[in-house]
Symmetry: D2
Subunit: 375 residues, 4 copies
C-alpha cells in the first residue's frame, strides 16, 4: 500500500519532503492505516520508514522534532503491533538517498543505509527491502549492506521498461541485483500497474537467461500513466497534486493482479495512490489462489454484488462482473485532455541540477526554476 500518499491525504505527511515523522508524531493514524491494509488482505506490513534516512530528514529545512532513530523505531513497533493482529510479516525498508544524488561516495552512502539497518535489526524485522531506487548502482550498494544482516533481502527499483536513469535495462538491473544478493527483485512506484508488470517480466526473462534464480515483486502506482517517459509520474504536470483523474478503480486492480500473477510474480502489492480498497481488490482477485478472502471483504460484495441491496433498481442492475469489467469510466472533465506532456529535464545523477541542499529553495532559485520550466 501507499503510506506516504495515503497519509498525505489524511493530513499526516507533507508533500514535497514526504518524510515519515508521523510514525512518531501521530502513531494512531499510522496504526489505523496498517490495520486497514491488514484487513484488506496484506501479508506484509512494511515499516513506515520511507525517506527516513538522516540525510533526507535533515534535508531542505524540515523541522526535526524526532531523530531518525526515533522515527525508525516507532515505525517498526507499529508495523509489528498490527502484523501480530493478523499473521503478517514485517519488512524494514530503505530507499534512495539525497547523498547519492549529490555524488557522495559509496562509503558515505552505505553508512546511511547501515544506520537505518541498525534499528531494523534491533527491532528484529522479518525481512528487508531496498526500494525506490532510480539508479541500479545505488540499489546494489543498498543490497550489499542489507545482505550482511543475514535476513532475506528484496530489491525494488522505481523504473519502467526503459530502464534506470543511467539507461541500464530492467533485465541488466535485475541480474546485477540478484548477483549482489537479492532473493526478490522487482519494481515499485513511478509507473502504472501494467507498465510495472511489463518491466518485471523483462527482469524475470533476463534473470532466467543468466541462469540465476529469484522471486519477483511488483508495487506499482495506483495511477494510470500512459504518457510517462523514463522518469515516471514525477515528470507528469499533475504530480503530485492533480493526479486524481488517473486513480485506478478496483476493477483495474483485478486486471493488474491477474496479469501480475500470470507473469509469475508472487509478491504483488502497491505503492503511491493505493488505498486499502485497492489492495482488497488484489486480494479478492487472487482469492482462488490464496484459498480465502481478506477480512475486509465482509464489507464488499464480489464484483459489485453489494449493489443487489441498493434502493434504485437500475443501480441493482449493475451488480454483475461484466458490467464493471467493461466499463470505460468517464472523467467528468470535458475541458481536460486525456494525456499530458511530461516535463522532465532529462538530467540524472551527476548533473548539477540534482545536487541536494539542506535549506529551503530560495525565492531567487524558484524564480530561475519557473523561467526554465517555461522554455
Amino acid at each position: 500500500g501507499g503510506f506516504v500518499f495515503a497519509l498525505e491525504k489524511r493530513g499526516y505527511v507533507k508533500a514535497g519532503p514526504w518524510t515519515p515523522e508521523a510514525a512518531a508524531e501521530h502513531p494512531e493514524a499510522v496504526r489505523q492505516l496498517h490495520r486497514e491494509f491488514l484487513r484488506a488482505g496484506a501479508n506484509v506490513m512494511q515499516t513506515f520508514t520511507f525517506y527516513a534516512s538522516d540525510d533526507k530528514l535533515e534535508n531542505r529545512g524540515n523541522k526535526l522534532t524526532f531523530t531518525g532513530a526515533q522515527i525508525n523505531e516507532a515505525a517498526c513497533d507499529l508495523a509489528r503491533e498490527v502484523a501480530n493482529e493478523g499473521d503478517a510479516l514485517v519488512a524494514g525498508g530503505v530507499c534512495q538517498t539525497p547523498s547519492y544524488l549529490s555524488c557522495k561516495s559509496e562509503t558515505e552512502v552505505k553508512a546511511i543505509f547501515k544506520k537505518q539497518l541498525d534499528v531494523f535489526i534491533k527491532k528484529n524485522v522479518d525481512f528487508l527491502i531496498a526500494e525506490y531506487f532510480e539508479h541500479v548502482e545505488e540499489a546494489v550498494w543498498a543490497v550489499e549492506v542489507l545482505k550482511e544482516t543475514g535476513k532475506p533481502v528484496a530489491a525494488s527499483l522505481c523504473i519502467g521498461p526503459q530502464g534506470d536513469m543511467h539507461g541500464v535495462s530492467p533485465g541488466d538491473c535485475a541480474v546485477r541485483l540478484v548477483k549482489a544478493g537479492a532473493q526478490i527483485v522487482g519494481v515499485n512506484c513511478h509507473f502504472d500497474p501494467l507498465t510495472c508488470v511489463e518491466a518485471v517480466k523483462m527482469m524475470k526473462a533476463a534473470v532466467e537467461k543468466a541462469g540465476l534464480k529469484a522471486h519477483y515483486m511488483v508495487q506499482p502506482l495506483a495511477y494510470h500513466t500512459p504518457d510517462c517517459n523514463c522518469q515516471g509520474f514525477i515528470d507528469l504536470p499533475e504530480f503530485p497534486f492533480g493526479l486524481e483523474p488517473r486513480i485506478l478503480t478496483r476493477w483495474d486492480m483485478h486486471k493488474y493482479a491477474r496479469e501480475a500473477y500470470n507473469a509469475g510474480i508472487r509478491f504483488i502489492g502497491g505503492c503511491c495512490g493505493f488505498e486499502p480498497y485497492h489492495i482488497r481488490a488484489v486480494a479478492e482477485e487472487l482469492a482462488p489462489e490464496k484459498g480465502f478472502l481478506p477480512t475486509g471483504s465482509e464489507k464488499h460484495g464480489n464484483w459489485g454484488a453489494g449493489l443487489e441491496m441498493h434502493t434504485k433498481p437500475w443501480v441493482r442492475a449493475r451488480a454483475r462482473r461484466d458490467y464493471w469489467e467493461n466499463l470505460k469510466p468517464a472523467s467528468g472533465r470535458p475541458l481536460c485532455p486525456s494525456m499530458s506532456s511530461p516535463d522532465g529535464w532529462g538530467v540524472t545523477k551527476g548533473d548539477a541540477d540534482l545536487m541536494q541542499q539542506k535549506e529551503a529553495t530560495s525565492q531567487d532559485q524558484l524564480k530561475q526554476l519557473f523561467n526554465r520550466s517555461k522554455c
Copy 2:
C-alpha cells in the same frame, strides 16, 4: 466530509446497503476519520448515522449484530469525543427512509425519525440536520419532527438546479423547508460543487423573495458531474465503483469554497468523495475569512509550497499558485470518454419499481433488471 464513501474505501462500510454499523463495530476507524476531518478544519462533527433508521438497517437482508439504537448511540459518543478534542459542534442527522419510498403514511415515516431523534436528545447533540432527501415532502416531515426538540434544525436536499424528484424547484423547496421551521437550508450529495452552489443560490433567491430569513449550507460531492440529469450521480454508469476519474483535486476545492462563500453560503462542507485533504483545502481557501489555518496545514504548504523541498528542480518549479490554479489535469485514460450518458429510469416515489423489500434481490429479479437496463 463523506464518511460513508471514505469508510467504504477503508473497508468498514458496504457499498449497496451503505449502513453505518461501523460506529459500533469498528469505533477506532470511525474515530480516526472524525479526527482527520477535525485536523482538516471541520467545525462540525456529524454523527455517523446516515441510513441508521431501523427500517433501513433491517432492509434488504443486512445482518443485524447491533440495534439501530446501539449504532446511533455509538455514533453520537464518537462524534462528541472527537469534537471535544477541538472546539467543534456535534450535529445529529436523519435522512430519507425506505418507508417513504414505499409509500408509507406520514405518521409511519415520522415515527421513524422520532426514534432516531430520541438518541440524539439523550446524547444532547448541538443541533440537528435533516439531510439527503430527494423529495421535499419527506424533508418537511423530518423538519417538523426535528423542530419539536427545540434544537436548531438544518435541512438539506440531495437535489440540483432541476429540483426534487417530483419536479419542485429548489426555490420552492427552500421556502417550504424554512416555513416548516428549518433555520439552515441547502443541498448535499448527488452533484458536484459548482452545481450544488448553483442550486443553493436559487434557494437563497427564493427565500429572500418570499420575505423569509435563513442561513444556507452546501455539502456537494467531491466528483465532477457535468453529465448528470435530475437524479444526480446515482444514475451515472460509474456509480459507485468507477467514479475515481471524477474526483476533485484540492485546487478544485479552492474554487468551490470561494464560489460558495461569495454566494453567501456560510455552512460549507462536503459529502460523498470528500477526503480530509478536500476539507483542508476548503479551510485553507477560507483561512483569510476565518482568521486561521486548520491544524492539518502544518503538513501542507500553501498552494503547493511544500514542493519547494522536492528533490527534482522541475517539480520545485511547480511550487506556485498559478501553476495549480490553471492546470487541466489529464485522466491518463485515452480509451475512456470525458462524459457519460446517465441511465436513470425516470421513476420516482409512487412507482412500483421503487417499492423496497427486506430480502436480498433474487437471481430472477436481477435477471429482469439486467434485461431492462439493456433496453
Copy 3:
C-alpha cells in the same frame, strides 16, 4: 450544403471576409460544388450569394474586381445551370448586413436587401431565403422586403434554443417571421444538428400555439458544438481554423436527418462544414420517404456495405449498420480536451465593439484586441 467553408478549403474563399466573389472569379469551382451537392441529393441549389451585399463586399478592405451585381448574377446563373442538370429548384438568398450591426436605419438596411433582390428577380429564382440573421428584427425587415416580390419566402435565423442576440426566444422569433410573411421558418448555421432541431421544435410549437401555419427548415453546422453559448460556434476558440475534430461523420448525419424528419421539419439541409457526402447521408437516411436514392449513392454502399469489397477481412467485418451506428469515434488527440470554453464578449448590436469599419483592422487595434482577449 456549406459553400463558404467548402470553397475555403478548396482555395476559393477567404476566411475572415467570407465573401463569394468566386462565383464570378472561379465559376468552374463553384459549378463543380453545385454538381456535387446535386449528385448528393440536394433538391435546392442555393445561389452562392452569402455576404454578397455591397456594404459587406466593400467592408474591411476586400479588393473589388467584381461589382456586387456581377457576383450575384454569376451566382444565379451557376445555380440555375446545375439545377437544370437535375430537377432542383433555385433559391436566392440574402443575409445579415454590417449596416444593421453598425446601427443603420431600417430604410438603409432594407435598401441593401432590395439591391440584391433586383438580381434575383431578373434571374427569376424560384424562391427566396432570408438566412443567417442573429437578430430577429433585421430578419423581419428582410422578409418584408423579399415578400414584396410575390415569390415564396423562407426565413432562417442563426440562433439556438437560447434565442436571438437580443434574447428573443426561438418561438417568439418564429411567430414574428411568420406574421411578417415567411412561409418557411427555421434556423441555420451556428449550432450542431441536434441543437438546431431542438430550436426549430421550439419554433414549431410556438407557431402552432399562436394558431399560425408554416413549413419548417433546418440547416445546421456539420460540427459538434455541445459547448457553445448563445452566439454559437463563432465564439468557440477553434473557430474557424481548428474545427476539424468536431466534423460530423456520415452516421451522425443519419441520426440528424431522422431526428429532423420526426420533428416535422421538411426542408432539411446543411450549412458550414457540410460536404457533399454529408448531404448524401441525409438523402440516404430519408430515401424511404423520398422513394429513391441520390445519384451519388452509386458510389456509396448503404451503411458501409462497400466495405464488403475491402482487401482485409477485419475491415469487411465492419460492413454493417450496427457497427457504424454505435461507433464512438476517437479523436486521436490525447493532449486535447473534448470541450472548450467559448470566449464571446457578451456584446450585441448597439455595442460600440460591433461597429463595422471598411478599412482593415490596424496593428494598434489588433494589439488592443489581443490584450482584451487575454483578460
Copy 4:
C-alpha cells in the same frame, strides 16, 4: 494530396474497392481536384491511377464500364492537362496488387505492373512512383519493372517505424529499394505526419550508413493516428467512415512541413485525408525556402491574418500565429474517447485470410467475419 478519399467525399469514388474509374467516368471532378491542388502549391500531379491495375479493377465484383487501359489513359491526360496550367510535373503511379497478397508468382505480379506502365510510357509521364506497398518484396519487384523504362523512379511504402508486414525495418526496406534502383524512397499513407517523418528518418539513416545515396519523400495521412499498430489506420475501428475527429488542422500541417524539411526530406506531400487547404499550409510553411507563396494563398491570410476582417472583435483577436500554434482543439465529443484499440488480426501475406476473391463477400462469409471480430 489524397485523391481517393477526397473524391469519395465528393461522391465519385466508392469506399471499399477504392478504384479510380472516375478518371474516365467523371473527368470534370478529377480535373477540378487536380486544379485545386495545383493552386494549393503542388509541384507534382500524380495520375489518378491508384488501384487501377486490371486485377484490382476486376476484383470483388466492381462493375467494369471502362477497361484498365482507358482509366489509366484518361488519368494521364487529366494530370498532364492541369500540370500544364502551372509548371508541375506528372508522375505515374503503381501500387500493391491483390495478386501479390494472393501469393501469385513474381512473374505474374510484374506483368501487372508492366501493363500499367505501358500507358505511362505512351503518355510520357515525367517520372514514376511505386507507392503504397505493405511488403518491401513486392515494392522491389515494382521498382525493378519501373526501372527498365529509364524514367526516374520513386518508391514509397505504407509502413511506419515498426517496418513492413513481414517485419523488415524501414532502414532495411530503404536500402533494398535504393539497391533495386529507386532514386527517391520514403513512405506514404497509413500513419500520421510525424510518425511518417520518423519512419523516413530511419530510412535516411540506414541508406547513409550503407554508403548509398537517395532523395527522400513522405506522403502521410491527414489523420492523427497515435493509437495505430504496425498496420496503420486500416486497423482503427474508425476506418474509413469515422475518421473525421482525427483530421489534421492546417496548423498541424505547418508543424509537419517544418519537421519533414528539417529531417532532410524534399518531396513533401500528402495522402488520404489531405484536402487542398492542407497542401496549401505545407506550401505556406515552406514559402521562405521555395521563395514564393502558392496561388491559392490569395484566398488565405498568413497564420489566420484573414480574421482581421471578421465582424466580431474577439474573432479578430485570433488573427495571430501564437494563437493558432498553441491551440489544442476540442473534439466536441464528450462521449467519445481520444484513442481507440486497433483491431487487426495480425495476419499478413501468406495467410489464408488474405487470399483475394473476385466475387463480393457472401452473407455467410460476412457472418463469419462478424463473429471473429467480436472475439
